[in-house]
């Protein structure tokens, strides 16, 4: 019994509790930021303590919780390589959430801090949960705070955006809950890792239905085409910090779910429906990229680019090739870092000018050279320039998908061309050319802004040059999941024809 995971997950909630009991805290946001540094430290420690050659979940903590339908539900936390990376990403973006809000969020800072800390506990719980029910509870906990973050501190259209967000989320959660109950009761276990390993599969009829429930619930969150329309609206209305965590972590809960539940627990259904998900992934990657290109609002552009990038991730997952799945996991982390940074950068511009239109800027590089450097670096990381982090993930996803379904990979690859078009187009419009008077002489990044952006920038370079430590830690888990998906799929020939 290792108490470190419950400590890591519950620390932010404890911080929220302290803030709730101390109504006169002097600077609650700063306090929350410092509290959120603790999980980051713990996550770093776990990263280095992790035994990389093992697919077994590590740092396990498990106590009985309650019994339901003859199944022991436990408060169980554990990490395999995949969840390790996502816990790390969450812990990394936690402090960014609070420190980036220090400037822009002026009102009701205590509430903001409390919601943020609760959200962090929820997200950490989602990735660290080793139990189905605990996963679901954490999933719900992580979503409610965002509703308030957008609804209270959001832009003028926040009412409409939050309504759509909540409707989608509730619908997705409902499907998830039903599917989850089916698995729990039919599979006779609530242990995530056991369900993914047991040779006994669910009855075929239930498997397909439950798979669809999970896949739809997660697809809404990713979001996959055509369930994506809530995302741009939520992003545009969300405060900068909210966008960072929404794009950086919350969307990954969807792709993580696809990987953790759909592939190993429903291998036959995954094989049958892989062509559909491959098509949605690759199609969404291109469609999202085209949409991003059509935007005139920087924040919307970045939001649609997320849809494009995560489409590629979903494509990689359902290629069910070890290299593609590894690339997809890596790309979840990469996307969290670079898109988080992109939203921060858009926030930097917005805080100064209260504008976000592509046409509102020009020649910003002159007065904001540091900003220009960081924006350029992040844009190139996001479009997958080799040497920066995005490339490794994209390369693995596309290469692995190519060996399973060449045409799908070729379609996905066009999104890589388009990403250069829209992101470098944005770079051109903002940083270069003549400067309109309205944005002349903007002050460069402040120390606080630099402090939130520089670590992310450093990681873009570090993970691009040296992705080995991450890839090593996910390899065994990824190989186990893919091996299971393939073994079962081959034992029973799939009903639909798969692209070869």
């Amino acid at each position: 019994m290792d108490p470190i995971l419950p400590l890591l997950v519950l620390l932010p909630a404890a911080g929220a509790g302290i803030l709730a009991l101390a109504p006169r805290a002097r600077d609650p946001l700063r306090f929350a930021g410092i509290v959120s540094l603790l999980p980051l430290g713990l996550a770093l420690g776990l990263f280095f303590a992790f035994e990389g050659r093992s697919a077994e979940p590590q740092f396990g903590f498990s106590v009985p919780w309650f019994r339901m339908g003859g199944v022991d539900v436990r408060f169980a936390l554990a990490l395999d390589g995949i969840s390790l990376l996502l816990v790390g990403l969450t812990a990394l973006l936690g402090p960014v959430f609070f420190f980036a809000a220090l400037g822009p969020v002026a009102e009701r800072r205590r509430e903001f801090a409390i919601w943020g800390l609760l959200m962090e506990t929820g997200m950490l719980g989602v990735f660290a949960a080793a139990d189905l029910v605990l996963f679901y509870v954490a999933w719900e906990i992580s979503l409610i705070p965002l509703y308030f973050v957008i609804g209270i501190w959001g832009g003028p259209g926040r009412g409409r955006a939050t309504t759509k967000f909540v409707l989608y989320t509730v619908a997705g959660s409902l499907l998830l809950l039903l599917a989850l109950l089916a698995v729990l009761l039919e599979g006779r276990s609530s242990d995530l890792f056991e369900l993914a390993r047991t040779p006994r599969l669910l009855p075929a009829s239930i498997e397909t239905l439950a798979f669809l429930g999970f896949a739809l619930g997660f697809a809404v969150k990713v979001p996959l085409l055509p369930f994506h329309t809530w995302l741009p609206e939520a992003h545009v209305e969300a405060p900068t910090s909210g966008s960072v965590v929404l794009a950086g972590v919350l969307l990954k809960m969807g792709t993580y779910g696809l990987l953790r539940f759909c592939l190993p627990i429903f291998p036959r259904a995954s094989a049958d429906l892989a062509p559909l998900l491959l098509a949605l992934g690759a199609g969404g990657a291109v469609y999202g990229a085209l949409l991003a290109w059509a935007q005139r609002d920087l924040k919307k552009l970045v939001a649609y680019s997320s849809i494009s990038h995560l489409g590629l991730v979903a494509m990689g997952l359902f290629a069910r090739e070890p290299s593609a799945v590894s690339g997809a996991v890596l790309q979840m982390v990469n996307h969290g870092i670079s898109t988080g940074a992109l939203f921060l950068l858009v926030g930097v511009l917005y805080d100064r000018t209260h504008r976000r239109g592509l046409g509102d800027f020009g020649g910003v590089a002159r007065s904001m050279p540091l900003f220009a450097f960081l924006f350029g670096l992040t844009a190139f990381a996001s479009i997958g320039l080799p040497g920066l982090n995005g490339f490794v993930g994209e390369f693995l996803i596309l290469s692995g998908t190519f060996s399973a379904a060449p045409v799908v990979a070729a379609v996905g690859a066009t999104s890589v061309v388009l990403s250069a078009v829209y992101l470098l187009g944005a770079v051109r419009a903002v940083l270069f050319g003549p400067t309109p008077d309205s944005v002349a002489g903007l002050p460069d990044c402040t120390r606080r802004e630099t402090a939130t952006l520089l670590p992310l920038a450093g990681l873009m370079v570090l993970l691009g040059v040296c992705p080995g430590p991450l890839l090593d830690r996910i390899r065994p888990s990824v190989e186990r999941i893919v091996a299971r998906a393939r073994a079962v799929a081959q034992a029973e020939p799939p009903r639909l024809e798969r692209p070869r």
């Binding site: 339901m68 339908g69 759509k164 409707l167 409902l174 809950l177 039903l178 109950l181 089916a182 729990l184 009761l185 994506h228 329309t229 809530w230 085209l290 949409l291 290109w293 059509a294 090739e321 070890p322 290299s323 593609a324 799945v325 590894s326 690339g327 890596l330 050279p369 540091l370 190139f380 320039l385 080799p386 040497g387 490339f391 490794v392 390369f395 693995l396 596309l398 290469s399 190519f402 060996s403 060449p406 990979a409 690859a413 890589v416 061309v417 250069a420 078009v421 470098l424 187009g425 051109r428 270069f432 050319g433 003549p434 040059v465 992705p467 080995g468 890839l471 090593d472 990824v478 190989e479």
Partner: protein, 639 residues
Amino acid sequence: MSALLPLLVGLPLAGAIACAALHARVLSRRRTDPEARPGEILVGAIATGAASAAFVLALALFVRLLGLPAADRRIGASLGTWIDAGTLRVPASLLLDPLSSILALVVTGVGALIHLYSIGYMRGDPGFARYFACLNLFLASMLLLVLGANLPLTFVGWEGVGLCSYLLIGFWYGKGWPADAGLKAFVVNRVGDAGFLLGIFLLQKELGALDYASIGAAASTGKIPSATWAAALLFCGAVGKSAQIPLQVWLPDAMAGPTPVSALIHAATMVTAGVYLLARLSALFLAAPGVLLVVGIVGGATAVLAGLGALASRDLKRALACSTVSQLGLMFLGEGAGAFDAGIAHLTTHAFFKALLFLAAGSVIHALGGEQDLAKMGGLRARIPATFLCFCAGAWALSGLPPLAGFFSKDEILGGALHGGHAAILASLGFAASFLTALYSFRLVYLVFSGRENFAGSPHESPGVMLAPMRVLAALSLLGGALAWIPIADARPIAAFLAPVLGGEAAPGGGAEHVLVAALSFAVASVGFLLARRLWRDRGLAGDEGLARTALWRLAAAGGVLDAFYRGAVARGARLLAIACGVFDLFVIDGAVNGVGRAASAAGASLRALQNGKIQSYGIGIAAAAGALLLAGLLLGRG
């Protein structure tokens, strides 16, 4: 010794980081003092020092390579594993063999000279340190491209040089059009690179290995079933980077960058990466004869068309850019005929004389205070005599007249074209391009340096720091032909040196056949020269009039037509598609979502009483619903 190999990439990289740090310091000083400038001597010394040290290192490694027996001239270095996931493993290993050694020498040698020249050319520019950081980073990327022992590493360098090209084309970002040109270059290259990537994936799928040794071995024993597809896809990348038809449109625009950048990146080194790639994968391309023919024809057609473009250009740098595209086409023509060594030989000599021409053009432009229009030059010979002599040496070498470098290397290509299959079509394209080359080379010489003085102000000769590199390159242009072919001894040093690396049989040199080719190409180039002399020596741009009525001239505009087609049809079409997607998303997909929402809210109107606006009661509702569902699930599960 192999520890020196990573240092070859590392030195310019360290230089780039140092220059970037100095630039950052200047920027932070500018917050208080807007006029703050970098220590130009320090920055120039660091950057040029790094480039020169890399050249010395490349030279030392070259000597070491020569000391090895011809069959095992390989020096490797491994820095561990870069990517390892699933079946894909990319070791970070470098390889120096005769091919990469020649390229490394050219890149660092010409690179160091152009660094030196840039100290004079960029004097007083507020972005001085930024410029040199990019230039050093370019050298590091280019060396990685050349020295990488597998396709993914080459691709890293390939994209890295693309990044530096983008940054340096748009160096003067305050004006809009250089930034646009940089963007265009990057995007057009990305189109080709998508093919490059797919080619890599195909080889990974079929071979499970991406290092050049494995690819070469498998290709020459026929173990790559889809060699044709792989070669075609990889050639797409080469077409983009080396600006061949149909992706040649970015290079003329790339001249928006500082002239030394045009000399180094867009003439001598980066744009030749495609030629290098094909030579590196010669075994694969020889296993795909159909693709090889396409390579030759694309190269030949590009050579002729771009040669016409150079002829019709009224802008000095644009003319040289078209000439570069044309010469790259010639290199591909040689490779398409199977004469990979000839392609590399021409790459080498071309690096000398085209860099020289650009530097001399930069000196002209510098003297005229930024003027690039050929109509506003003329008669400069007496004003800037040193530049004149250097430009003449470059033009002479380019035109392929003996005894300068271009004659010998071009001969190798034409000889290869005549020797290989499809001789008729490839050789006639090659000779046509040669004729055009001589014609436009001397057109430039006469328009710039002879005839009436059409410029304003009083031009001045460039400083020694700019002239010295030009003189070195002029000397190399004079003597460099010996690398390709030494007629008296009938020796072909580059071809002999490359023979162990390149697949296929080298075209047999010497003999009557070689002399015949030499005589023919001499004749063709001489006619070009004499015609140019008649048309432009005394009449200036009025000399164009006679040609302007011919069909050829109208063909010259075809390059522009393609560019207009991309802008008008492809770019605008894709943009319209994007906007159409936006409309579709807004009205159809989101519309459907909103419709569902409205229907639900209409149905729920009767339950409005429950919507009291209190979060607590919603929470109770959610909890109750969840509880009910749990209960239902339990009952169903039991039953």
